[in-house]
């Protein structure tokens, strides 16, 4: 029986817990609802700089001593800065959970942002931008995201060179004061833990961090505009990316879209792999995925291929996007549903996956979904649902991007 709990603590923090009595580890994420989209336009990159420097010194200890303290627990720690949130996660043995939460509270509440650490983070951000340009698929992702989602939701966490040049330690401190507080936090945990005990633990270490007022849960405004661009670059391969608006996670049709994406790109028998790779040998890598800011959705279709195959690959991608509303078979539908359900059921063995699914639900839906509910949603998707979805989501407004030596002529 699913015993997932969702608690709203007095300190303003939202807590989700999946008790898994048999698990050997505990996985926890502390998510602050502030990311690249919350940054001032002239100082892009702040959220990530905070993520990189917040654990490099606290009022109690230096950064190295802090990481050593985590290592003493054997905790595997990680962090990320994204579009609308910044996350700090750890996995550890059950007996060390409280100490790991305490250490997280220490750097989240009382960071010192040492000047040398800030300057290092700025220098590394510049270098990471250079490294990103050496990674064509990541560079194409960055460029199509900016083109499709626009100037706010399309921001890259690294920021821009000119905005990083305007950022100093005081900016980090000010932005941290503005965005880091329990009213803007969601904490999720999975493992052999009880919800009430986790709630008490969180209150012990985080109560009083900010005024407790709930913020950071609104969606950002966004409007899609079709576009086309080519970014010339000397490469062995051409990167092709296409995106178009889709359902938000909270839309009733979101499970339908998941199944539809399964038909398009869910495995080796899906349409993109079959038509682009298997039948024509055009590209090694071809895929589609959705990306969902809070309250919005976008489907991205991508392939990379040799430049002399770019025109054919592009036409095939367009054809498959268009063909989604044609000749869908029950067998395809059944396969897409089966694969998603198999994935849900097998991933449920992993404590980290259970925690991750809960974080996703709290962020997007504001409440958890049980594994059974998640599976039932997929099982209930019919061919009629797909037809209705496709009629309601026309794919006639596309954003198209190419990166490489060949500019498409047939767009």
């Amino acid at each position: 029986m699913d015993r997932t709990a969702h608690l709203n603590l007095d300190c303003g923090l939202e807590l989700g817990v999946v008790p898994l009595p048999e698990a050997q580890v505990v996985a926890v994420e502390l998510r602050v609802l502030a990311g690249a989209a919350d940054e001032p336009a002239e100082k892009l990159g702040l959220a990530r700089l905070i993520q990189e420097t917040i654990n490099k010194g606290t009022e109690q200890r230096e950064g190295r001593a802090l990481l050593d303290a985590f290592d003493e627990l054997g905790a595997s720690v990680g962090s990320w800065a994204g579009r609308e949130a910044t996350g700090f996660s750890f996995v550890c043995l059950p007996e060390f959970v409280e100490r790991a939460v305490e250490l997280h509270a220490e750097f989240l509440r009382r960071p010192t942002f040492p000047e040398d650490a800030v300057q290092t983070a700025l220098a590394l951000a510049e270098q990471e931008m250079a490294a990103l340009e050496d990674d064509p698929p990541s560079l194409a992702d960055k460029l199509i995201s900016r083109q499709g989602f626009g100037p706010v939701l399309g921001r890259h966490p690294l920021g821009e060179r000119e905005t990083l040049a305007r950022i100093g330690r005081d900016d980090l401190v000010e932005h941290w004061r503005r965005t880091f507080a329990t009213g803007r936090m969601q904490v999720t945990a999975a493992g052999p833990v009880e919800p009430d005990a986790v709630a008490a633990m969180i209150e012990r270490h985080l109560a009083g961090f900010g005024d407790g007022e709930r913020t950071g849960r609104e969606r950002f405004e966004f409007s899609f505009a079709p576009a086309r661009s080519h970014h010339s670059k000397e490469l062995e391969q051409e990167q092709i990316a296409i995106c178009f608006p889709s359902a938000a996670v909270t839309d009733a049709d979101f499970p339908v879209e998941r199944v539809l994406l399964g038909v398009l790109s869910g495995g080796m028998s899906a349409r993109l792999f079959t038509e682009v790779r298997e039948k024509q040998g055009l590209a090694y890598d071809v895929h589609a995925m959705n990306d969902n800011p809070r309250g919005w959705g976008m489907i991205f279709v991508s392939a990379s291929c040799k430049p002399d195959r770019a025109e054919t690959t592009f036409r095939t991608l367009l054809r498959e996007i268009d063909r989604l509303s044609e000749d869908l078979t029950e067998d395809e539908l059944d396969r897409a549903r089966s694969r998603i359900i198999a994935r849900e059921e097998t991933l449920a063995d992993l404590t980290r996956s259970r925690r991750s699914a809960l974080s996703y639900d709290l962020f997007h839906r504001g409440h958890p979904l049980s594994l059974e509910e998640r599976i039932e949603q997929i099982r209930g998707v019919t061919a009629d649902d797909l037809s209705r979805y496709l009629a309601g989501h026309p794919r006639d407004r596309l954003s198209i991007l190419t990166l490489g030596p060949h500019e498409l002529t047939d767009v």
């Binding site: 003493e72 627990l73 590394l124 050496d134 062995e236 090694y284 694969r339």
Partner: protein, 415 residues
């Protein structure tokens, strides 16, 4: 649960080995076939055949077309794939436990691929595209250059993907001969982990694989000579310079294996010396250490990438840290921290059938039998400060290494 209760071993009359691990508390199961062959088992003119063959095993059998293989994977598997390395080719699927029999049947069928001629040229285009893709990735270019130079004149020297010219010239008949010689049941291992009944797994294996004829055991591998030197590959279109310091290290089956892992983590893992003394000085966004453990040799690689104007400084910093490891003992706390983290990561891996599949594959291939999580942990716990000092006495990283530099600069000068 004891080792005997956890693992089950069986060998069919034709030589196919079956290793099963029962994982209590897990609902799913993973199954995979290990083919004990990889790029180092190729001849130079067939470089890339192992990897291309891995692709072709998805392309058709006596029972299934490529479409049917793809459909059948998608019907049952949450995750599936295959990969080729220098020494192995591995095919796997992760499924709900009730589907493990179907997964074994499908993988078994693929191990008897027809290598259909009609699909050969089409798949060759895909593999050539994969090779092109690798040339756009700085780390991939550096990895291939490393093997070409460090293992020169040895079978480990060519890329796993092969070269454009060797893959381009490869014929279906050449691949078939290689397949016949390397995919005999006595050169394969079926590995299964998860919520499974070992007796039932053996029944499945006997039904699907029992009639395969025993074949030849592949060519004996010879260990490469150790090399020192410098190599530079200038590629102006990249922004960053990647520097690699490569040193001889123990093989995967060496008793010093865990000591080498711990030393690697202390020097270039998370919260390591490289992290604090190189990354956190702003010199490099990515400086770390990796081990390349093979069955009869190994390398320790110190990697760092940076802006071209900082590469000399980065190289010096990496060499300084390498030198410190050799001239003074590591701290007891550094060793203990590595052990603590490993304890957690082993607990995480213990709940993932796919991870266990890979660990068992390593153990079976290199040690002859798998180890439980507890045995792996005991090996980690046995690492000591003195053991690491002894390691660096035997495998020095302050001399006799190979220095590689890839990126926009033609640096350093090579005599």
């Amino acid at each position: 649960m004891s080792t005997a209760d956890r693992f089950h071993f069986h060998t069919l009359d034709n030589g196919l080995r079956i290793v099963t691990e029962r994982m209590p508390g897990i609902r799913s199961a993973a199954a995979g076939f290990l083919a004990r062959t990889g790029s180092r088992d190729e001849v130079p003119e067939l470089a890339g055949v192992s990897h291309f063959l891995e692709h072709m095993c998805f392309k058709g059998t006596a029972k299934r077309t490529w479409e049917q293989i793809n459909v059948d994977f998608d019907r049952i598997a949450a995750d599936y794939n295959a990969f080729t390395s220098e020494e192995r080719t591995f095919y796997y699927g992760w499924v709900r436990h009730e589907d493990v029999g179907k997964q074994i049947e499908l993988l078994s069928d693929m191990m008897r691929s027809r290598l259909p001629s009609a699909e050969f040229d089409m798949e060759k285009k895909v593999v050539l595209d994969e090779i092109a893709r690798s040339k756009d990735q700085l780390m991939h270019v550096a990895y291939d250059l490393h093997h070409e130079k460090v293992f020169a004149d040895h079978a480990l020297s060519w890329p796993i993907l092969g070269h454009d010219r060797t893959v381009g010239a490869l014929t279906r008949d050449q691949m078939h001969s290689y397949f016949e010689a390397r995919y005999a049941p006595n050169n394969l291992v079926l590995i299964v982990a998860g919520n499974v009944d070992p007796a039932q797994i053996v029944e499945h294996a006997a039904e699907y694989c029992g009639k395969w004829p025993t074949g030849p055991i592949g060519p004996t591998r010879t260990a490469p000579a150790t090399r020192a030197g410098t190599a530079v590959q200038q590629i102006e279109r990249f922004n960053q310079q990647l520097i690699v310091l490569s040193f001889a290290a123990p093989s995967a089956a060496d008793p010093m294996h865990e000591t080498a892992n711990a030393a690697t983590q202390i020097l270039g893992g998370a919260n390591s010396r490289f992290f604090w003394n190189i990354v956190q000085t702003g010199l490099s966004p990515d400086a770390s250490c990796y081990r390349l453990p093979y069955s009869d040799c190994g390398r320790l690689l110190l990697w760092g990438q940076t802006d071209p104007d900082k590469c000399e400084e980065l190289a010096k910093a990496m060499q300084t840290e390498a030198g410190r490891m050799c001239t003074s003992k590591v701290d007891e706390h550094e060793v203990q921290r590595v052990k603590n983290k490993r304890r957690t990561s082993l607990a995480v891996e213990a709940e993932a059938p796919y991870h266990r599949l890979l660990q068992i594959m390593d153990d079976v291939d290199l040690r002859g039998e798998p180890r439980t999580i507890e045995q792996r942990l005991a090996a980690v716990d046995a690492v000591t400060v003195d053991g690491i000092a002894e390691y660096f006495e035997r495998y020095s990283i302050d001399r006799d290494g190979f220095f590689l530099s890839v990126g926009p600069l033609d640096w350093p000068p090579v005599n």
